[in-house]
Amino acid sequence: MPSRTISFLSPAGVLALGLAAAACTGVVDPNTKDGQPNDGNPMGTAGTTGTPVDPIIAQTQPIDPGHVAVHRLNTNEYNATVTDVLGTKLQPANANWRGGELGGFDNMASVLGVDGDQYRRYFDAAGALTKDVFANDALRAKIVTCATTDDAACITSILGTTGTRIFRRPLTTAEQTTYSNVYAAARKVGDDHNASVRLMVQAMLSSAEFLYRIEFDQAPNTTAKHPVTAYELASRLSYFLWGSAPDDQLLAAAANNTLIKDDVLASAVDYMLQDGKSNRFVTNFAGQWLGIRRVVPHPAAADVYAAWNPTVADAAAQEMYLYFNEFLRTGRSWLDFMKADINYVTPELAALYGNGMPTPAAGAPQRVEAVADGRQGFAGLIGFLAMSSPDRRSSPTLRGKWILLNLMCTTPPDPPPNVPKLEDAAMAPTNVREALEVHRANPACAACHALFDPFGLALEQYDGIGQFRTMYKDNSTIDPATELQASEAYPDGLKFSGIEGANGLPGVAEAVTKNPAFATCISEKMLTFGLGRLLTATDKPYLEVVNKEWLKDGATPSIPRLVHGLVSTETFRYRRGEGT
């Protein structure tokens, strides 16, 4: 399973299709988005500026697959790609390499620019990688498949195998000439065959055609849609589900052009999800979307939370990965995500859970089910409860807002100007709920907070690192009962008192699952991640089709079915030029 993660996800990530509440009426209006990339800036949200988009819900004919820009490999993709393509153990990319995040994801083409410093890293890494690979007999033999020096056929053959793996497509004739010239230049300074091949590979690893995923249009200045090539489709699939380059099987299905067929594409998806490399889908997609990458760096204050340490943090993150992974692997209904009574615990994590959580043997996290500790679902996981808190206390507002933003793809408006923050009002409030009530007494704040606070208030029996408690430090009893106002999602409102005497988790699970935006939110997030671009209004019809099929009666809305649905759409299999 994934190693410790190092990136840091914004929990208030940008939501391309997030519904913006135009005014703090407590009513979320789905018709107020402007169809433009919404970057979280209030000016980017509808209801303020921008062209209103017709309600296109009824429109079922997908019309525009959109333009996917050239896409520089990010840090994780680069490391995974060199591992898979070259077999090296080197991981040259690190957190200091230039990245870029948008919409909560680090694979968005539009913010993955390059500069001289970053290119120098690529250039140096290409040298180090080929040095490593060519020092290893087995790895070198995979590349140097013929031994005749200065033989054009031999070079062409190597470019045909290794070159295709590196470029994720066959080289054009012109490209073959360009990179053969590198071989010749190496020969000219006295390098032998192996060393000359090495330099040729080094040049390909330094090239834009390797460092970027590039798709072509026959007519780049028009917006005519057309299918992507089989090789381009293979790359779309592999970076979506493996965070890496296509393997030889996918390349073969591209070479004979069968990958574009529905049935072959579907079986390729199954094959890819069964491959261990799909763990990278868990770490890259869920790791960012569900805030899992934020758990290890979560800055819990040591003087407040002595029980939080790197071992526990690591275990809490692992549990979140494994929790999501179970939904991916078993085909369990996504509608159980907030309700499933599953934990994956190490001894250290079990101790933090307490309340009857069994202590497993040391080693890999152990799966336990139906522990009668009152917890259930994603919102009961320690990692989530910690990650969504500030460093010294729990925050109903932050937790609630995180749930609204990320699990229901709904963007509440930014706070009005000059409202004192809760943190400023009280340095270390002992009773967060009371402090929040004061804050919410301000009518300017109340209507918006009513959108998300209830989710957080219901979780107040879990402290800033997810430990269960019944009282605040001032010995006041925590009351998790709360309610949501009537709204479009909750026509009759929803009381959170839930099961008599129980904590608020069942109420949160019910409220989140009941909101229609919950089931469709994952498809928005997954498509955003899968395409590496923010979604626009023109993606909506595709999502409507996918959601309708995925959520139809009589079938289980599982993650694999959603992946199949998204991959089968035109927006994933087609593209268009930029236009003029």
Partner: protein
């Protein structure tokens, strides 16, 4: 001289072997003689402090010389630096965002740093261009591309920082809060935080003196390696140019950015550098990876020490300026909304005039510092200020030919993008160090009634750095006119 000598040295440097650069200090007399003919280089060094500052940043008194005393967070500065300092209070940048000039710019951490060196709302530019991230060109980059600076150093500018964990971006494009330099509307300049990488970059452009004496025979392996690198670069350029021709306009620009990046390293990997030696240019030892390689720790660890990291970066800044590798450096002491735990800094208890060491160590910067106790916040700010003081002191010790110091010919702009715990975009923490030889008044605390931050940017160009032809800068949506800040000009 033999052009391949330096290449050899650069290669050794890149391999992590300690460098000796024999031509440097020993050549001082010659360089000084040359330097007498030319004015000392003017340098600009904005140093960004994240999360604003604690309330005790602002000195209690306003005035010049003995009339004002340093505030407690500056207590590490000492009298020598106070004599070369301007503390400037009540700058506001809210007018870059709000038509009424209001100080609330939310989400603050995600938006305000974007305007730190541009004084415009990046969101407006983003919206106008309909792109994912955008900003105006930042002050340092306007300078770097102006005739006053352009072409005078091998590196147009450097962007440095001490961050280790990717910061939380408040739902905004992360380039707003992780970088302060923008070379173009859609080109944030990501900073370098790895000292070894910065070292190699600087050493790669330092040119040995023409008078180093003696020549070394060309190194055949170095020659061969240059040829190899050249063939790689040639192939990459040829290939990318061909690919670029098949793309639409926006994608063409992306490939152009790639081609420009390749060309920017071409010289350093295929030949000798074209840099110049500055006053008493002396190379430092290669930074050691083990102690300062900043790969994602959120607090000090056995192998990562923020103190070492800061010191290494200060060493590199001194070397870069001393060797005249560049004259413009932006430096972020941390990303905005940093959550690094400053457990290498002792907690202190502050009074109005000073501080004493207390118990324990400092907490995490944002939640525990900015939003924790003022003492915790001030302890972290004081440590950051101390690193700036150390840097300034070293620059003040290096003399130009005319007897002035590098510091006298440098404006260190030590400032933040928000006030402090209240997140307000007014009453910004701003202090200038040095610049005495550039026409800046010294040793004063000026408190404006309310002053647009962009006036300071404009004054730098108009009065300090020979860029009086630049007529406009930034935006004041509340209608204020751009004005020179006469209070700081001697």
């Amino acid at each position: 001289m033999n052009r391949f000598v330096s290449r050899r040295l650069v290669l050794r440097g890149a391999a992590g072997v300690a460098l000796t650069l024999p031509w440097l200090e020993s050549l001082l007399p010659t360089k000084s003689a040359q330097a007498q003919a030319v004015a000392a280089p003017k340098r600009f060094l904005p140093i960004f402090i994240p999360n604003g500052a604690s309330e005790n940043w602002k000195p209690l008194q306003v005035g010049v010389g003995a009339a004002w005393t340093m505030s407690p967070v500056f207590e590490l500065f000492g009298a020598a630096l106070k004599a070369k300092m301007n503390v400037l209070s009540n700058f506001e940048n809210g007018s870059a965002f709000n038509a009424d000039g209001g100080s609330s710019v939310e989400p603050s951490h995600g938006r305000q740093p974007g305007a730190f060196l541009t004084c415009v709302d990046p969101g407006v530019i983003r919206k106008n261009l309909n792109v994912a991230e955008a900003n105006a060109i930042s002050l340092d980059q306007i300078m770097a591309t102006h005739a006053a600076f352009k072409g005078k150093t091998a590196l147009p500018s450097l962007q440095l920082g001490l961050s280790t964990v990717l910061s939380y971006c408040d739902g905004q494009p992360c380039s707003n809060s992780r970088s302060i330099s923008w070379s173009g509307a859609t080109s944030p300049m990501y900073k370098q935080v790895d000292p070894l990488e910065v070292f190699n970059k600087i050493v790669g452009v330092i040119k040995p003196s023409d008078n180093m004496g003696g020549t070394t025979a060309p190194d055949p392996e170095a020659l061969a390696n240059i040829a190899r690198n050249k063939s790689v670069i040639d192939a990459v350029l040829e290939s990318a140019t061909r690919t670029q021709g098949q793309l639409g306009a926006a994608d063409k620009l992306r490939l152009q950015e790639f081609l420009d990046s390749v060309r920017s390293i071409e010289k350093s990997v295929t030949g000798v550098s074209v840099g110049m030696g500055g006053v008493a240019c002396s190379a430092i030892a290669t930074p050691t990876m083990a102690t300062v390689h900043p790969d994602a720790p959120k607090q000090n660890t056995a192998t990562y020490k923020k103190e070492d990291h800061a010191n290494a970066m200060n060493d590199l800044i001194v070397m870069a300026l001393q060797c005249d590798a560049t004259r413009i450096i932006t430096h972020m002491l941390e990303d905005e909304r940093s959550e690094f735990t400053y457990d290498h800094v002792k907690m202190r208890t502050f009074t109005a005039t000073g501080s004493t060491e207390g118990n324990g160590t400092c907490p995490e910067y944002h939640g525990g510092g900015q939003h924790g106790s003022q003492d915790a916040f001030a302890s972290i700010v004081r440590w950051n200020a101390g690193k700036v003081a150390e840097l300034a002191t070293r620059l003040d010790a290096i003399k130009e030919a005319d007897g002035s110091s590098i510091l006298d010919n440098t404006v260190i702009w030590f400032a933040g993008a928000m006030h402090g715990s209240n997140h307000a975009c007014n009453d910004l923490p701003v202090a200038l160090l040095g610049g005495g030889a550039l026409g800046l008044k010294q040793d004063q605390h000026v408190a404006f009634g309310k002053r647009a931050f962009r006036d300071l940017h404009y004054t730098m160009m108009n009065k300090v750095f020979d860029m009086s032809d630049v007529a406009n800068f930034g935006q004041d949506l509340s209608g204020g006119q751009l004005k020179v800040i006469s209070e700081i000009i001697a």
